[in-house]
Symmetry: C2
Subunit: 337 residues, 2 copies
DNA sequence: TTGTAGGCGTTATCAT
DNA sequence: ATGATAACGCCTACAA
């Protein structure tokens, strides 16, 4: 008899035990005679009993819900990363509640819901909610994990991609390829990630610049997506001097750039101009782009973020941690090894 | 004084009213003197009070949480659609809980969580959980919306893209362009959507075939993604007879096909061979592909799905509805208007 | 090992 | 219009 919404009391009645015994039976750490437990499980099974998380949450004061805060999913890397996060959260016995804060008008309402639902933790993957928000959660006792953000002073745990290293790898590869007129390109409204990548790139090159071996400059496109890349290519092609090596802080910008370049037909990669992207989104590997890029593993980042959360749930009062996820260069057609 | 976790009782004490008055103050449909309400709001504000959804859920027996069931997010259209759903759910005062059921080993655990959390509704966008699962939810009193699935007999509300019409539009466009050796290509393990698109395409052409005006055949690739497309192109190019017009049931397959074609250089689009995709994922518009395709608006689908859910929440006992979302042909370079 | 009882924070019912 | 009180389903001392 599959009763629509059986409670633990129903199970207790059917199994001939007390309600608390039923409750205990589902707690692995509770010592209960194997016989009783089986009896309870059988009854629960028969009734289709499932624990009521709302009631459980009231007592435990944690819901096992994890808020995944993001600003949009249009950017392919964001969506790949969110997918990794969802899977990782699920694999840890937690449930993902997704919060998109790209709409500034409703952002407060979205954030309120995070506290209303007694979330066990919050993983913020977007720059949008400022650090004050993170601190407010922490003050309420909700662990916060910050992913790829600038806040170093925070009381929250931090997981960062090694953005600096990404820039360094790109710089080294271009030097090794013998390129000497270099550029680094990112969106005018840059994220922390992009800015740090650019800085890593520039810093790695500065000794060479000082020795007069090569030149580098920083350039910007209007938006951090495909269209930004095409627009940048148009501008560059209209200018007097071309670089012979460019590091784009996001793959999607690089893809737009490559498409415009191909259409223009004057410059060929990697001979006239070498191109390196960053992220290794899936289309970077498509034949049309075949983009040499710095890969960041969204899976590794997700694992680090959820693992940091789990640690903090177990030990709430330890000092905040910081974790840098390593990156690697993937050679493809726009800069040969 | 921003108390960490203020309850309505705390607010009541500070405002000098009863706890039930506080509760009522936050219910717009409750008639309360404006003066008291302001007093309560002020106190709530001071304490940083937020309603405890767990307690609310216990008594209301609904959590305002909506389960979004999907199988993976790798496919670009899936992820664009999920994004639309998240936004739409949020805009309706509900919260999205994402459930990825792509891992068959844990699918039961994931589905259990749906009932544990007392979800207000479930939107299933994947073929994976069979119809029995949907019926189980409905029996428990949880509304289920099925999106782009085959189940017509279900007791659930259904939102479908007009997949048949998508096939028809593609067929008509190819005929108008004067193509006569046609093909429709989809993954060997096809979704309901793809199968219906192919059928719409074939049915629309059958009168022409009978009159001997043209030929059509059905072809399959090994996987429903970019790689499936390249593989299909390779096979086709190795065969004796080429079609002069192909309808791919998914954009990403078409993109793989186009890339391989470009590399081979023997056949040019749209002259030698016209190509039409389906979905209008964002890369379809990229210059490298410039793919003529049948657009399905993920936003429209999301709106229809959430609206169906809202309707059912208000009127649980009405007959299940079915909604078809219209599609349109977007002309680009692989088949000119 | 098991049962009893109290309480988590809210909404809803019934008085006043 | 407002206040008291009884649930909602579960966990967790405490007792046995």
């Amino acid at each position: 008899m599959h009763k629509p919404n059986a409670t633990s009391a129903d199970v207790a009645r059917l199994a001939g035990v007390s309600q608390s015994t039923v409750s205990r039976s589902f707690d692995p750490s509770s010592r209960i005679s194997e016989k009783t437990r089986q009896k309870v499980f059988a009854a629960a099974d028969e009734l289709g009993y499932q624990v009521n998380k709302a009631a459980q949450t009231m007592i435990r004061k944690r819901s096992d819900l994890v808020g995944l805060v993001t600003a949009g999913l249009g950017d392919p890397f964001r969506s790949e990363f969110l997918h990794s996060l969802v899977l990782e959260v699920q694999n840890n016995g937690l449930r993902p509640m997704v919060i998109d804060v790209s709409d500034k008008h409703t952002i407060d309402i979205q954030l309120q819901s995070l506290v209303q639902y007694q979330l066990s933790g919050v993983i913020i993957t977007s720059g949008t909610p400022n650090e004050a928000v993170a601190k407010a959660f922490i003050k309420r006792g909700t662990p916060v994990i910050l992913v790829n953000r600038a806040d170093y002073s925070s009381e929250a745990d931090i997981v960062n991609l090694d953005n600096t290293q990404a820039g360094v790898l790109a710089a080294e590869a271009l030097i090794k390829a013998g390129k000497s007129r270099l550029q680094v390109v990112r969106s005018r409204v840059s994220s922390y990630s992009s800015a740090t990548r650019a800085k890593g790139f520039l810093d790695a090159l500065s000794p060479y610049v000082e020795r007069g071996v090569l030149s580098v400059d920083e350039a910007f496109c209007d938006s951090g997506n495909y269209d930004g890349g095409t627009q940048y290519a148009t501008d560059m092609l209209a200018s007097a001097h071309y670089p012979d090596g460019i590091f784009f802080c996001m793959d999607c910008i690089a893809c737009g750039f490559l498409d415009e370049l191909k259409q223009d037909r004057r410059l060929a990669t990697p001979t006239d101009i070498a191109v390196i992207g960053c992220d290794d989104i899936s289309i970077a590997g498509y034949k049309s782009y075949n983009l040499t890029t710095v890969r960041q593993s969204s899976q590794k980042m997700a694992e680090a973020a959820v693992s940091a959360l789990q640690t903090r749930l177990k030990q709430p009062n330890t000092a905040p941690t910081q974790h840098n996820v390593s990156v690697e260069l993937v050679y493809r057609g726009t800069l040969l090894k």
